[in-house]
C-alpha cells in the first residue's frame, strides 16, 4: 500500500509543480472566479430581495451561502483530466502509457490530486471574500463532518466521470462538443444554476405569478421532472449534495445518509464504467496502434 502510494506520488508532485509554474494564470483565474461569484451573488440577492428576503422558506442569507459555497466546492472539484486524456488520445501518446509499469487510472488520479493541491492556494482568496460577503453560515459540527465526507465522495465521482468522458475520445476523436455539453448540462443539473430542491419546491408549492398562460399542472410537472432528472444524473452528487449539506439545505440526518448513499452508488457505478471503457479502449489501441 505504502509502496504503491510512493510509486504514484511522483505524478502528484509534478502536477503541483506544474500548477506553480503558471502563477500569473492562477491569479487571473482567481479573478475569473470572483466575477462569477459576483454575478451569482448580486443576481440572487436581487431576486430574493424582490420577494422580501425569502423565497419559499429559504432565507436570502442561507441561499447566498449556498450559491457561494457551491462555487467554492466547484473550484475545489475542478477537474481537467478529461481534456488531457482526450488530447493524449488524439495525439496518439496514450499508447505510451500501455508500455509503462503503472495503472493508467491510478496515475491520472495521482495527477488530479496534485492539480487540486496546487490550486488550493488560489482558492483561499475566494473563500475569504465569500466569507465576508455571506458569512458562509455555519450550521453545525455534524453538518460540517458530513460535508467533509460528502465532498470527498464528490471528488471521486468528478474524477471518475471525467476519466470516462475523456476516454470516449477513442470513439468520437474530437472532444469539443462533448466537453461543451458536459459544462452546460452540469450547470443545470448540478445545482449550480439553482438548488435542486428549488425544482421540487416549485413543483409542489404551485405557481402564483407565472406570467405565461400555461396550465399550472404542466409547469409544476416541468419543474418536478427537472428535479427527478437531476437525481437520475450524477451531476447533483458532484456539487449539490456536499453544498446543500454544508448549508443545511439538507439537514435531516436520514436524508443526509440517503444522499451520501447515492454518492457511493455513483462511485461504484462510475468505477465499473471506467474499467469497462478502459479495457475496451485498450483493445482499440492494440488494434489501431494508438
Amino acid at each position: 500500500m505504502i509502496k504503491s502510494i510512493l510509486k504514484y506520488s511522483g505524478f502528484t508532485l509534478n502536477a503541483v509543480k506544474e500548477q506553480y509554474a503558471y502563477k500569473f494564470r492562477a491569479i487571473i483565474w482567481t479573478f475569473y472566479n470572483f466575477i462569477l461569484l459576483f454575478v451569482q451573488y448580486f443576481l440572487w440577492n436581487a431576486i430574493f430581495e424582490a420577494n422580501g428576503g425569502a423565497l419559499y422558506d429559504i432565507s436570502v442569507k442561507k441561499y447566498l451561502s449556498y450559491v457561494v459555497m457551491g462555487m467554492i466546492t466547484n473550484s475545489f472539484l475542478h477537474c481537467l483530466i478529461d481534456g488531457s486524456i482526450a488530447e493524449e488520445i488524439k495525439s496518439g501518446n496514450v499508447s505510451m502509457n500501455l508500455i509503462k509499469p503503472y495503472n493508467y487510472i491510478y496515475m491520472n488520479f495521482a495527477k488530479q490530486i496534485g492539480y487540486t493541491l496546487g490550486s488550493v492556494i488560489s482558492l483561499s482568496p475566494l473563500i475569504i471574500v465569500a466569507f465576508f460577503m455571506t458569512g458562509l453560515s455555519f450550521v453545525s459540527v455534524q453538518a460540517l463532518l458530513f460535508f467533509i465526507v460528502s465532498i470527498f465522495l464528490a471528488y471521486m465521482i468528478v474524477f471518475l466521470f471525467n476519466m470516462f468522458l475523456g476516454m470516449l475520445a477513442f470513439w468520437i476523436t474530437n472532444y469539443w462538443g462533448l466537453r461543451l455539453l458536459k459544462w452546460h448540462v452540469f450547470v443545470i443539473f448540478s445545482g449550480e444554476l439553482m438548488a435542486i430542491n428549488m425544482f421540487f419546491k416549485i413543483g409542489n408549492n404551485g405557481i402564483s405569478n407565472f406570467p405565461i398562460p400555461l396550465p399550472e399542472a404542466a409547469v409544476q410537472l416541468f419543474f418536478k421532472t427537472l428535479g427527478i432528472i437531476s437525481y437520475c444524473l450524477p451531476f447533483q452528487a458532484m456539487n449539490y449534495t456536499p453544498t446543500a449539506i454544508y448549508t443545511g439545505m439538507i439537514n435531516d440526518t436520514r436524508q443526509i445518509l440517503v444522499h451520501l448513499g447515492v454518492q457511493v452508488f455513483w462511485i461504484i457505478f462510475m468505477l465499473g464504467l471506467v474499467r469497462l471503457v478502459w479495457s475496451k479502449a485498450k483493445n482499440q489501441i492494440t488494434i489501431l496502434g494508438g
Partner: protein, 276 residues
C-alpha cells in the same frame, strides 16, 4: 469591398465543410449551446413563478433586456471570434507574422478568417425572447425608435469589439493574454439583466464608466422602457433632453473604440520592434 465579401464567403464555406467532418461532435456542441441558452432562461422562468418583478422590472421587461443582450452577444460571437486565437496563441506560436506578409489589412484578415456558428444559438433564442417580450409589453418603437435601436446595436457591437481587441492587444507584450481576455469578457454576464437590480454603487459605475458593458444592452433598453429621470439617476448627472443618452452612448463607444485601436496599434508597433 466586393473582394472582401468574396474572401469572407470562401472562409465561411470552408468552415461549414470542416464542421461537417466531425458530425457527432458538432451535433453535441450545438445541443450544448442550446442547453446553455436554456439555463439562464430557466432561472428567469423559475423566479417568476413566485415573484411579480425583480427590482422595478416585470417579467417581460426582464426578458426584453435578456433577449436583446443575447442578440448583441451572439452577433459578436459570430463574426468576431478569431481575435480569441490571437490573444491565446497567434503571437505565442509566431503565426501572427502571417498576417503581416499579406496584402490586406490585418484586422479584416483576422475577422474574416473565422466565422463561429456557435453564435447562432444566442442570436436565435435572443431574437425569439426579444420579440415575445416586445409584443407582450406592447411597445412600439416607430421608425425613429428603430433607427435609434439600430444605432445602439451598432455601438454595442463596437464595445464588444473594442474590449476584445484591447485585451487581445496585451498579448503583444505578454505573448499570450487569453486568460485576461476571458476574465474581462466574462463581465458581460452582467448585461443579461438590467443593471440597477444589483443595487451596487461600485458595480454600476464600473460597468458604465470603466468597462462599459452597460452601453451594450442596459442603456439601449432602458431608453425605451424608462423616463429620463430614471436614467439621470443612474448616470449620476442630470440631463434635459432624452436624446442626450444617444449622444452619451455614441461618445463612450467612440472613445473606447479609439482607445482600443490605439492600444492595438501600439502593440503592433511593439511587435514590429521585437518580432515576438
Amino acid at each position: 469591398m466586393f473582394k472582401f465579401l468574396r474572401i469572407y464567403s470562401a472562409f465561411i464555406k470552408q468552415q461549414i465543410k470542416s464542421l461537417m467532418e466531425y458530425k457527432i461532435d458538432f451535433m453535441m456542441g450545438m445541443i450544448a449551446l442550446g442547453v446553455n441558452q436554456i439555463s439562464t432562461f430557466l432561472v428567469i422562468f423559475a423566479v417568476f413563478t413566485q415573484i411579480k418583478a425583480i427590482g422595478s422590472y416585470s417579467f417581460n421587461e426582464i426578458l426584453l433586456f435578456y433577449g436583446y443582450s443575447q442578440i448583441v452577444r451572439g452577433i459578436d460571437h459570430l463574426y468576431n471570434d478569431n481575435i480569441w486565437v490571437v490573444g491565446w496563441n497567434k503571437i505565442k506560436d509566431g503565426s501572427f507574422s502571417n498576417y503581416l506578409v499579406r496584402p490586406i489589412p490585418i484586422l479584416s484578415h483576422i475577422v474574416m478568417e473565422r466565422f463561429q456558428f456557435d453564435g447562432f444559438g444566442e442570436v436565435l433564442i435572443g431574437l425569439a425572447i426579444f420579440i415575445y417580450a416586445k409584443i407582450n409589453l406592447g411597445i412600439a418603437f416607430g421608425l425613429a425608435g428603430w433607427m435609434v435601436l439600430g444605432f445602439f446595436f451598432f455601438c454595442g457591437l463596437a464595445i464588444y469589439f473594442s474590449i476584445k481587441l484591447a485585451t487581445a492587444a496585451i498579448a503583444f507584450w505578454t505573448v499570450s493574454s487569453g486568460e485576461l481576455m476571458s476574465v474581462i469578457y466574462e463581465v458581460n454576464t452582467f448585461t443579461k439583466f438590467p443593471l440597477d437590480i444589483y443595487k451596487n454603487f461600485f458595480l454600476k459605475n464600473f460597468l458604465i464608466y470603466i468597462l462599459p458593458f452597460a452601453i451594450v444592452s442596459y442603456f439601449p433598453i432602458a431608453y425605451f422602457l424608462r423616463d429620463q429621470n430614471f436614467i439621470s439617476n443612474l448616470l449620476g448627472f442630470r440631463y434635459y433632453h432624452r436624446e442626450l443618452l444617444i449622444v452619451f452612448v455614441g461618445f463612450v463607444t467612440v472613445l473606447f473604440y479609439c482607445a482600443s485601436r490605439f492600444l492595438w496599434r501600439m502593440g503592433l508597433r511593439h511587435y514590429n520592434a521585437t518580432g515576438s
